[in-house]
Each structure stands twice: as structure tokens, then as C-alpha cells.
Symmetry: D3
Subunit: 188 residues, 6 copies
């Protein structure tokens, strides 16, 4: 135990059903420390015609894309300075909090903030993590930064963590922490 | 839809069952963007005598304590320099990664690392987040730091985020990011 | 087959659960002509704490009273000219259709309509029938009328059928058919 | 809640399964006044080979035709004086109760009864209603009559209601009420 | 997998429910060679009021006693020559087949058959086995015999196996095989 | 009642699913003496992608072959002295117990034991029975023997019963009882 049955409308891909099964397994294990082999999840698919809520058949809501992949794509667009793509992924009211730069709302502000700090920066990812909190999907990306200081000297292996919130498939918030200032302080 | 049935052994408290129900709701919503009212979770309790795996009855594994509460207690013990309590919550092989201080393994190392950095530091929490990844519980604590610099000057409102990993109820890893260096750099 | 499982919140009385089980049995047999012994209904009660919709626990909606009993009470109140009780059972917008008297909306209109037709009339019931149509409960009452014509002569055994609609426990509509005119025509 | 699962043998058409799902929804709402969106019905189809009762597989009983459609066809046959078709839909022991004509058993009796009453009559239907009572399907047809009096004068808009009982697909009983006598009385 | 849910009426003792769960586990393993820990059985108890078949509530059939215990009691009664008790456990039409003695129907015949074969015989049981075949419970008892030959010489360790059939709680048939003749032949 | 749902991975043949359904029916009836028509078994097949245990999908274990057929084949191979086929069906540690010949481990020993007892022997089967006991499948074969005594005289109609144990598809044990010695004793 636990044994979990999840009844869903037919129409989700195998990858989506397995994502669901894994999420439910993790959810169960968050509360019940069962031996892993003792956690059973069964996805039951209902043909659309065999399901009614309130006397009406319902179309299955398309599955959310993998939020980690969405954030990876956003960060890649930012790194490539592809503002058009990046902006298309943002919700109205999007806000960013960077070290010593709270409350940025436009990607251009972020670029202005970054200008005196480094010539360029790129990310190496250690891992992405995503989970749901009521209506909000929270995604963490973490790893290390490499790039060049304004004077052209290279840097690397600077730890960072980004936290994102998404609602209805759009990014509403980004919070960034990293060791850039720490590293720079040690250089001087 | 989805409709989720979770069969568990009898013996979990109402609080534990509701924690489970919420975790399952969130897990479903991570993949399927159903309207909130359309996500149904039903916990089914099985008396111990009515459940067999492999022809044997099983005792219910005690529910995990709320991992956010566990981390809050650990951080409180650290803040109070109650090393005995803090250490009791750590797994063998525990490792900490702080800004410019990777791979610490003993709390004493952390205290030594902190000594030249501030007289004291305390945390104000904005939120805790926890989720499960296979066998590992991941917990995030975030908020702001306040305290005194070595010269006695106060600081406050410095953003931080701590990431913890727990296995079998013990903390195995802590990663810390914050804006202390950034703030200090701006002071000078 | 069919085998029907109905999951409900805990809190319904045995009488209410059996009313539900019978209604589900009848619903199944309306479509599938299974041998009666082959129709299985199982009511599953969920403690309130074990059920969440949209991440929230829900209180069980109190069961509807037996609609046949409600209509019987209404008709008894009308027969006793207890207008206060009868009126309390009517929804706003209540409308009555009697032979040659469509669209009455006030009980006083009905009494005025009846005045030249009989001194009094009482009902003997053969049966009541109730079923649900989406949001509306439909109730039929049928049997025979007895009473006195305006000239004091008695009558009896005059067939009638009343059809009622109820929404949210209030009567919204009444339609009446009977053989009074037919009987009177044969008298003359 | 309620959440209703109905396990049936594979082989019912989509229209039949939806008829079943709607009937179960209505049955639940007859007793439990849940918000419509809170009533979930899931039809589970079992391949014949996956179901055994008493150790034997079973063939699915063919679904009943829509009883409202059956009665509509019967009334159409009667209106067209297609006695052959109408009679084929009657059970042995069929009985009719018309105004001032109880206990007719042969369609010819009905025609004889009607002869002095009108030259012809046709029905305009407002609605049909059907529900199950144990082994009996009850069907109501209601609307208005139009046609010609014996003297050739036309009539219309005369309310009627017919109640039918069917068992095993055959009509066993018909009860008719209408305002013909009332209307005729007002003419004179 | 497999995961087995058995819905039964409330009223069975814990011992009976566990006997059922074990029998279902064994039944599953007879066909599917799952790892033992992968076979889950859940007994669901339905309060009598929450179950209807054919629109009627049902009383739970009292569980069968453990058939191995019943046969053990029968054999003990026979060994003690308690014919009254033994006979009370037999169905009408009971028949016994012993070595070279087919078709005995009365316990007295068995005693007469045994008279020239041994002074007395007693059983040491190695094991009992029981399983169901449609309406018939089959029970095997096996072990060794000890006792005295007609000449008073002792014997022991003679293998035997008894096969019983029970229907509706009564023994309908007994078949006995053993090595008595083989042993006796070796003596001479 | 009982109503039994068995969730299995997709991939079992219709014959295998029905074998499972019958075994579950019998298991239920071993404990609960329900009327046969009141025992419902539903096999639910889960596509491999819709089932996870411990967060991993699982391949369905191939169903066991019918153990009665396996034993029938073994006995046929022995009768035909096809030692190669017979031996391939035996587990390491296989042991046989024959009348006055306990603890044989090699088929050759059996042949040596049989040599002085009969020229040849063949089996006519009345029935096979199989059931599961934890990890062990028990199979009974019973019927009558016919053949020739060493002196060439024929014999027939000698009752026998063989009991087999199988684990993981291999025979681990055979116990044999019959009336040969009894019959021979009566000849002399």
C-alpha cells in the first residue's frame, strides 16, 4: 500500500500518463514511507463517451507540457538573447527578482542590469525540479554559471538556482540566486 | 476528471490523510490542467485485517512527519546554536554547500566558515516547499536574513534560499544561496 | 451486470442510502434489461476527511426529502385549505394548469376557479411516482376524486392525475387532468 | 460527489451508454442535491471474457430501445390506424383506461369508443418522460390534441396526458386523461 | 500486480476475511506467477444497508467453517467410533471407496470391512489441503497409520491419503488409498 | 456478493483470464457459500504503460501453463519411457514416494523399483485437480491402472492417486498411492 487508481479521460499520451503515474507515486511517498515496490499506481482511461460530469460528457483538457522542458526552453531563449521567444512564454504581470534587483518586469531591464556585471553568462544545468502548489507550478533550475567578466576574464563553476512560477502555462515569476558577488569579492 | 482513489491502511490521522489528498491533487494538476473543482481525491482506508500483500497482512508504515516542519525545526536549532538537536536530524554522510564553501560535512565547519562573515544571522521565512523525488524528499526554505556584520552594523532583508534533501527522515544534504556577498559589495 | 458503485460522503441515513440504491437500480434497468438479481448496487461512504474536490474537503449536501411525501403534504394542505403551509412549499414563479384554466399563479385563483365547479373535492391516491430530469424533480400523483357538486349531489371515482415539478425543494409547476367534465356531461 | 461507477459488459452502443450515464446521473440527483458539476458517472466496459458470474461468462443483454421512442411509434401507428403495427407492440393482457371508458382491452373497442366523440384526432407532443419502477417502465406522453368534432368543426389545443406501462418491451397498460369533455362543455 | 479487490457484506470475522484473502492470493498465483510481494488483496466490507442486488438488500451468507477442520473432526469421530457425530456430518447419498471396497454407503459397512484387517488403526496427519471446485469443496488428508494387525502385532508409518468431497457443509464422498496391503505383503 | 475485481497487466490470453476468473470464483466460494449466480468476477486489464509499482512500469509475468496439462504430459512421457522429456520437467532436488519406496530421486530408480512388480502399467485418468499453496502448486491425478503382472496376466481397474508439487514450473515432488498390493493380495 498505498494502491492508487487515477481515472482520466482517454486521450493522454503514454508519456503523459507515465508522468502522471510518477507524480502520484511521489505524492504518495511524500506522506507514506512505503517500500518503493509497495506503491502501486494504476491509470484508468475512460473513453470520452463513458464519462459524464453533471450529465454532460467532457473533453479531456490537454496535458500540460513538461514544465521543466518549458523552463529549459525559456532559459535557452534568454541565453540566446531571443527576446521574442522568451517574451511569448511570459504571463501578463511577470516579475523577476535578481540579486540586488528586485521587481524587474521587463526582459530589457534584466539586460540593462546584467550589462555592467558580465560580458556574457551561460548556464550548465545540474537538474530541474517541478511540482504543483494548488494552481501554480513551481520549477527550480540549478547548476553553475560560466562566462566572462566585464574585463574579459573568464569565470566558471559559479553556483546558481532559479525558481519559477507558472500558471496556465505562462511564467509569472522568476527568482534568481547565485554566487557571482561572492566569487567577485574573492577575486578582489 | 481526474478521479483519484488512494487505498491506504487504516491508521493514518486525519491530518495525514488530508496531507496525502492534497499531495495527490497537486500531483494530478501537475500533469492535467483540470478545473480545480474537477479533481476528486478519495482516500480509502483498509483495516489491517482486510489487506494482504503476498498473502501476509502488513502494518501501516507510520506517516512521515511534515518535512517542512522538520526543516523549520532544524533551522531553528541551528539559529539557537543547539548543535545537539540539529545533529540528531542529520544522516550519516550529510553534506552542506554554502557560498564559496562547498562540501562541508560537520556543523562545526559551518560555524567556523560563518565566523568572519557575520556576528549573527537570523532568518525570516517567506515560505517552505516540499516535494518527493523517488526516495528523496526535497525541501526549500526561502525568505530573508537579518543580523549584524562583524563590525556590529546591522543588516536585514537579504534574500536567501536553502535546499534540503531528506531520506528516511534524516537530512542528507543542504545547499544554500543568498545575497550576502552582493549586499556587502554594495556597502563598500 | 451491471455492477454499480456509488461513492457518497458519509452522513446519509440508511433510508436515504437505500432510496439512492433503488433509484440507481431503476436507472440501470431503464437501459439494460438485466435479470433483477444481476443488478448490483454498492454504496460506498467516504468520511468527510477522506474526500477532496479541488483540494478542499466538502460537506455532504443534505439528502432531498422524499419528493412523493412532499407532494402528498402539499395536496393535504390544499385539501385542508391550509394556504399558509401550501404556499410555503411553492417556488417564486409557481404556475398551475387546470382544465380550462391555464396559467394560474396564485392559490386564490385556483380557489376562485374551483368555486362554481364543486362544493368540495377530496383525493384518494392510487400511487405517487417521482423521477429526476436534470435539475428538475417530476412527481406524478394519481387516483380518484370524490366530493359534492355545487348542488350537493355527491360524486366519486373520478380519475385524476397531477404532475408537479420541483426545483431545489420547491414546487415550480402543477398540471392537472381529470374526468370531472366527462362525468358531469354524462350526468346531464 | 457522488461519483458513480457502472460496470457493464462490452457491447452497448455509445448512445446506450450515454442513456445509462444520464439515467444514473438523474437517479443520484433524485436523492442527493449535489451541484450538477459534482455528479460524476463513469461507465466501465468489461470485455465478455473478463466477466464471470457464478463461474460463467455471460452475454450482454441487448439494451432496451428508448421507451419514449417506442411509445411515439405506437401512438403514430394508432393515429394512422395501422392496427397491425400497434397491436404488435402490445403485451398479452394489455388494458386501456380512457375517460369514461375503463378497462378496454382491444384496440377495436377503443375505435368504437372514439367514433361518436370525434371524426379524427391527432396529437402534438410537448414531451415524453420515462423512468423505471422495478420491472416496469413507465412512460408519459403529453401535449395537445387537434382534430374535428363529429359535426366537422375543428378543435385544437386540448391538453392530454397518456401514461404507459411496458414490461419486457411490450405495452401492458395505457391510461389517458384529457380536456375534451371540458372543452366540449364550454362549446355548448 | 495482480491487485484484487473483494467486496463482501459486512459480518465476516477477521479469521474468515483472512481465509478469503489467502484463498484469493493462492487463486491468483495459480495462474500468474507474480512475485509474492506483488500480489495485493483488499477485502472491502459493505454494510448490509449499502448493498442491493435486484433492488433488495441481502443478508450475508454465514461463512463456511474451515473444511480442513471439519474433516479433522469427522476423522476423529470415526477413530473414536463416535458414529453419531460422524453420521451427522454426512450428506444423504454419501459414498465411500476404500481399497478393494468400492461403493460403501453406511459407516457400519466400513466397520465390517475393517474388522478382519486390523484390530485398530489411528492416523497421524502430515497435512490437510482444501480447495473449491464449483459447488464442491475437495479436502485431502494425508499422513501415516499406526495400530495393530488382527494378531496384535503393531504397525506404524503406513502412508495414507483420504480425499473428501463436501457440498453445503456435508460430506458426500470419501476415497481412501493407503499402503496397508503393501506393508502386509512385505510382512509375509 | 462477493464481487471480485482483479486488476492484471494486459497481455494474458482469454483462456488465461478465464482460468484466473474461475480460480477466483472458486476461492471466494471456498469461504463464502454464496449462490453461484451471486459471485461476480471482473478482470481488469491494465495496459503496461498505465501501471507502475515503485515508480516503474512492469512487464506482465507470463501466465503459468495449466498445471494439470503439465502433469498429464509428464505422466505420458513416463508411460512412454521418454526419460528425456520427463526429466526436463523435474526440478533439482526432485523426490518421489511410491508404495514401499520412499525417497526415490532418479527416474531410473523408479524403473528399477517397478521391474519386479509389473511388465507394464498404463493409466486411465478420472480427473486432475490443481490448486495453489503459497509458492507451491499442488496437482492431483487420479484414476485406474491397467497393465500386465510379471507373469503376463492382465490387470485393470486398480485405483491410483498421484500427488505432485510444482514450483516455478518444475516438479519438485511426487507421491503415489494405489491398490496394486491389495489387488495382488486378493489374487493369491
Amino acid at each position: 500500500m498505498p494502491v492508487i487508481e487515477a481515472h482520466v479521460l482517454e486521450g493522454y499520451s503514454e508519456e503523459e500518463r507515465q508522468r502522471l503515474a510518477r507524480a502520484l507515486t511521489d505524492a504518495a511517498c511524500l506522506v507514506i514511507p512505503a517500500a518503493p515496490d509497495a506503491v502501486t499506481v494504476m491509470i484508468r482511461e475512460n473513453p470520452k463517451a463513458n464519462y459524464m460530469r453533471g450529465g454532460k460528457t467532457r473533453a479531456p483538457a490537454p496535458a500540460r507540457p513538461d514544465p521543466c522542458e518549458q523552463i529549459r526552453a525559456y532559459l535557452a531563449a534568454m541565453e540566446a538573447r531571443d527576446m521574442h521567444t522568451a517574451r511569448s512564454m511570459l504571463a501578463d504581470g511577470f516579475v523577476m527578482n535578481f540579486p540586488a534587483a528586485p521587481g524587474l518586469t521587463a526582459l530589457e531591464e534584466l539586460i540593462a542590469w546584467a550589462a555592467p556585471r558580465y560580458r556574457f553568462v551561460k548556464k550548465t544545468y545540474d537538474q530541474f525540479e517541478a511540482f504543483q502548489k494548488d494552481r501554480v507550478t513551481v520549477i527550480y533550475a540549478m547548476g553553475t554559471l560560466y562566462g566572462e567578466w566585464p574585463n574579459g576574464a573568464p569565470f566558471e563553476d559559479i553556483r546558481f538556482i532559479d525558481r519559477f512560477e507558472m500558471t496556465d502555462g505562462k511564467i509569472t515569476r522568476q527568482d534568481v540566486w547565485n554566487d557571482m558577488a561572492e566569487t567577485k569579492a574573492q577575486l578582489t
